[in-house]
Symmetry: C2
Subunit: 211 residues, 2 copies
Amino acid sequence: MKLYDCSVAPNPRRARIFLAEKNLSLEKVEVDILGGENLAPTFLAINPRGLLPVLELDDGTRIDEVMAICRYIEELQPEPALLGRDARERAVVTSRQRKMEFDGMIAASEVFRNQHPQFAQRSLPGAGTDVLPAIPALVERGRQTLARFFDWLETYLADAAYVAGDAFTMADITALCAIDFAGWVDITIPPANTRTLAWYERVSERPSAQA
Amino acid sequence: MKLYDCSVAPNPRRARIFLAEKNLSLEKVEVDILGGENLAPTFLAINPRGLLPVLELDDGTRIDEVMAICRYIEELQPEPALLGRDARERAVVTSRQRKMEFDGMIAASEVFRNQHPQFAQRSLPGAGTDVLPAIPALVERGRQTLARFFDWLETYLADAAYVAGDAFTMADITALCAIDFAGWVDITIPPANTRTLAWYERVSERPSAQA
């Protein structure tokens, strides 16, 4: 197996942290998103959507979408469980992971892309659309959505040590990557969210956070 | 178990079709989204995010997010498998389902909400944000994204009878609901996409499509 990766990009980082928590080390192929390599013919032949990460299995099957990759890895190596330990917990992790993704990762991406000069004509990531000019109103919408993300996160951490309960899961990985991504546009954890601040320090200290 | 539902809304329909394919019939509680009932205190006490569907387990646990609900149901009643039959297939279904969701469901929602007078001050679904005025530029972005969605769908159906392979799965359910949602804003399958047109007719004829 090998992972098409981009060391500076937030979504590939989610996969790298997941693999590190599983103590798995895969061959990695670096793709330079900032240089546009993900939208060049060589990589589009690997993933026509032009997105990273992509996991290539030994039989040649290529799996894109970070959650599909993580789900596959979870079945390959179940311990430690990062997607939940039983049916109910897996449902809770799935639900909270998605909230962290929709209100966190995607909102941070909207703020970042729609104000960065490099993406002035590419409001959406990936291939398959024509020119899509940046939409400045999405910067404000993304900011409000991130405020809601921080609210949910503080609420979840009132009940448990981690985002989806008493164990570190994919929901924590996505929340951590969303926060660090939001930091690129100078949006940070509100100072009043003391549980989130303490959680952030704990999860950032895990060795996997450096992956 | 019971399902908080909204009979006219596209996301609850995904859960209803999933349940119908499993031949499961749950108690349903109708919540009137068009009348704003999902954002009123009674429902916010059930789901603070104000979104549907929500599955309530017999122990009182409430699971929101349609994919979390479907994942729970899949474990409760594995047959017929709608999320894949082995690890590789589950990864493919997860990946394609997400493409149908991001480029289909969410794009249709952006086109619909950002041009409909009812949502003039609510560009995003759900509770927890302040006033978010509609963003007209998202109508065009959503249209382009749906064009990409139709392209992927036609490509997938070149290889197999269903969106993620030779069996009907959640990826088909999401694609079907996205297409019918796009129809609300008069966006339809391109006439040249003959495989998609034939597939659409087949999946629409399944009894579950009426759920």
